[in-house]
Amino acid sequence: MPIQHIKVLRNGTDEEELKVVETTGLPTWDADTKFTVVGRPQSRLEGLEKVTGRARYSYDVRLSGQLYAAVLRSPYPHARIRHIDTTKAEQLPGVHAILSSANAPDDITWYEEKSKLFDKTLRFIGDEVAAVAAESEEFAQDALRLIEVAYEPLPFVIEVEAALQPDAPRVHDKGNRVDEPTIYERGNAAAGLREADVVIEQTYTTQTAVHNSLEPHGCTAFWEGDQLTLWESTQGIFETREQVAEKLGLPEHHVRVVKEHMGGGFGSKQVPWKQTVIAALLSKQSGHPVQLMLDREAENLAAGNRNATVQRVRLGAKRDGTLTAILADIQVVVGAYMVGGEASEVNGMYERLYRCPNVRTEQIGVYINAGPCVAFRAPGHVEAAFALEAAMDELARALQLDPLTLRNRNYSEIDQKKEKPLSMPNALQVCYERATAAFGWQTYQRPAPTGPKRRGIGIAAHEWGGSGQPPAYAWIKLNGDGTVDVVTGTQDIGTGARTGLAQVAAEVLGLPIEQISVHLGDTAKGPYSPTSAGSSTQASVGPAVFAAAVEAKRQLLEVAAKLLEEEPERLEIRDGVVMVEGEPENKLTVAEVTGRLAPHMIIGQGARGPNAKDKTIRTFGAQCVEVEVDVETGEITVLRVVAAHDCGRIINPTMVDSQVFGGITQGVGFALTEERIVDEKRGLVLNANLEEYKIPTVADIPQMTNVPVNLPDLAANPTGVKGIGEPPLVPTAPAIANAVFDAIGVRLRHAPLSRRQLLAALATQAESIDKSAPPHTQEGQS
């Protein structure tokens, strides 16, 4: 198989890759392929390490002479440092290094150059003021208390509406708008509204939610001469290496980033934060390894969050439900800084999910004096779905259509933005069919109310990317004893990447998975792979492993053919045995072949090829939920969730289930309880912990059903795999909100759907409660 590197000049569009790899000639796993390893619920390769406590996370690293660092953070939402004195802290026994604006390099900038590593202007509570490295975490914390800082508090703004007033306190000199609005329009949205028989116009808001990975951000930094090693809790070892090298002025090969295991990564670990470079500098200054882990409070204040939004939505439709217009005016509350220049794309789902000729979206980012936002599992889509999918439900009610009927009536089989066909035009339909069938949507009979409890059902859909893309590289090494090392520079952020990649390699090579080891998470040991973000690891790196395995297999069969005195084309490998087609006696084990070759070895190199250019590759899904609402207390209980998500070919069904269940669970949290609460008068975050910030526990979560949707998408890559990491969170919250309406006839448009909000809404629409059976418009139901 020829592997050819082709350079393509970037012309400014996202359609062009700087470098692609010619992967024509690769076999593909199509619908007829028979599998022995792929598609089976293989238990995790790293499971043993995790159940025995041996799995090493960044903060488990223990090096000789290691120091522990802690960070002093701004107690003010907006302030200037007038004076900082670290003398007393320096004198504390056990303290080895202190960094602050007084001595840190002045030329390291952060947040699009809007802040220095230690800036004298602090723009949110939690902004870095100083850092200490000491012989224990206790000493480091004690030293922080001895640093004397004279702050000059500045006017601040927390509320998005206040931030947009002309006389608002300015978060940045240029004001509180991140940029000019991003506007998209196709057709004529205003005309579309005029054409409509029914118009829905509502404003929805979503809250600031915090990732709360169980393992906070952090790293251990260690210098050997001019060689820096970072054990970093990151979703992107290469991204971290590149950025740290740039900030510190080091060549990339002098920075090594290692991540063996990571305690959760939901977007906030896809970029390095200030503390990584701070740890490296403290290590340099002290001459010791330095470990800097955030505690839960710092994690919740200063390591990213899901941006709050305000979304004014207008939908227009004909009597029969045909959409004539979709309009959304979106404010995205980004916090004090943009991280990596990205605000979440809330507008995208409005532009893509439904067939509509007239669409207009306008999105602006707004700065406030609070911790910066960063991508959080399906960024933008979670926020957009909460509004769009509720608005669609409102439209269905207004038209007296079943919400599912309305969705199907406006089904889009094409990418309307790019006017290209979708690679799997019926994927969402399949999701609708499977989710509603397993849920019993059409036949649902609402139980009679018991006391104050009312039941209802809701549905919501989503679309997302997840196609994966180049570049990503992998090597396959066949050892003398027939075992296999898969080497790649990706990372397993907890999703089970090791296992999924091993299944691909085992399948191609015809070997039992026990003979495969996957080595990843080390920039010094494996070739480049992209950041694990956008639900793309299996879809980006899997095909590289696939290509490497195909190449290794080709070499193996060539050698085996010589030994068996056969043509390679007549050979196949099954369960570790190379055999000749139709001649069962004529065979050699893989270990016999590699053993004959040893110490020479077979190395297959593989690269991720480009996606199909003539099609748009997306993922889709739908969820149905049933809730019970207590109209006296305002409590909402999710009784069941049925999900169906298109993720292309399923490599490991249990791992897909796991992603779906985990996503739904975060969706329940987003829908019902999760919210960063800031005291607007003082700018204080009132719940920067897990004592007052409520993530779902096992008792909050019902039985969930994931209906498999196994639709190999060969436009994406030869394995047919697409991502599943992010999407399952997207439809859960709107489905719950729609179910709440179905139960009590009251629409809640502000996430999270708090008890207070529900009771207040009930009080203002008291007449709705009196109806023993709220309107549930199901076509065909007598």
């Binding site: 207390t633 309880t673 009132l686 719940n687 007052e692 409520k694």
Partner: protein, 283 residues
């Protein structure tokens, strides 16, 4: 998070505890530590010295004595929750505190001495008419639970005194506890404990207390009065529960989880729930 520095002393008997307490003014007493250690880690307390009473045998165990059962101050919530000879309102409340691990360490004495307004046990002990036994260098004294909780994190405990045990009457009728959980911390946003007796088809005795609403567990006298002499059914219980607003007055607290108005508005629901369950257990 780390506590500030402190000296640590372990008392193996009550007398040792008292002399240590006298020696180290300002020292804090630690038992299970599930109220104190979080406060230390948040640096809300910096006592300089801790006196560990966690191993004093005299303060442990549950003993029945006629119509009353004595719970040693060091008894954990898990043990109370599993106890057979205690009113059901108490055992179910103990079983809803925190989570299993917290219940394995947290002690009854520590809980009530801390007197968190959102804590469950003060409410239950107040409703059950329990007696809090205190011990100090000068000897023992007893305080009725309803007089023990005096304010926000404030009790009748005096300098140098410890909670030694709680006497819980076991002949007070059917009892129950109902609670709206703080979704994250699992403390009570609203908690209600009720105990009722039914004779000849009507309520002959009623004792009701609520927590989470005001600065400390509060006896609901108006609710109780509305129950006496009435048959206990949905209507009478609802009518009595509505009286809780009279008992609460204007002192209801609000926080980020629940405003004062919200708490006030849902309080009758939990009063009614507790009363309904207690009535069903009154035989």
């Amino acid at each position: 998070m780390y506590p500030p520095k402190f000296d640590y002393y372990r008392a193996n008997s009550l007398s040792e505890a008292f002399s240590l307490m006298q020696e180290h003014g300002g020292a804090k007493v630690i038992a299970g530590g599930h109220s104190l250690i979080p406060s230390l880690k948040l640096r809300l307390a910096d006592p300089g010295a801790l006196i560990d009473i966690g191993r004093i045998g005299e303060l442990k165990g549950i003993t029945a004595n006629g119509n009353s059962t004595r719970i040693g101050a060091l008894t954990t919530h898990a043990i109370v929750a599993a106890a057979k000879n205690l009113p059901q309102g108490l055992t179910e409340a103990a079983g809803w505190i925190g989570d299993p691990q917290v219940r394995n360490r947290g002690t009854v004495g520590g809980n009530i001495a801390h007197a968190d307004p959102a804590s469950d046990l003060p409410t239950v002990f107040t409703a059950l008419g329990a007696t809090i036994n205190l011990t100090g260098p000068g000897g023992e004294r007893s305080v009725a639970a309803q007089d023990f909780f005096t304010g926000l994190f404030e009790t009748a405990l005096q300098e140098g005194e410890l909670v030694s045990s709680i006497d819980v009457p076991t002949n007070g009728g059917g009892s129950a506890y109902a609670k709206l959980f703080n979704p994250a911390s699992r403390y009570a946003v609203v908690g209600c404990a009720a105990q009722v007796k039914v004779e000849n088809g009507v309520c002959s005795a009623a004792s009701v207390a609520v927590g989470g609403l005001t600065s400390h567990a509060t006896k609901a006298n108006a609710v109780e009065a509305a129950l006496l002499g009435k048959p206990l059914n949905e209507a009478t219980i609802a009518a009595a529960a509505a009286q809780i607003s009279q008992d609460l007055g204007d002192d209801v607290m609000g926080d980020l989880h629940a405003s004062a108005d919200y708490r006030r508005s849902i309080a009758p629901i939990y009063v009614a729930q507790a009363l309904t369950a207690a009535a069903s257990r009154a035989g």
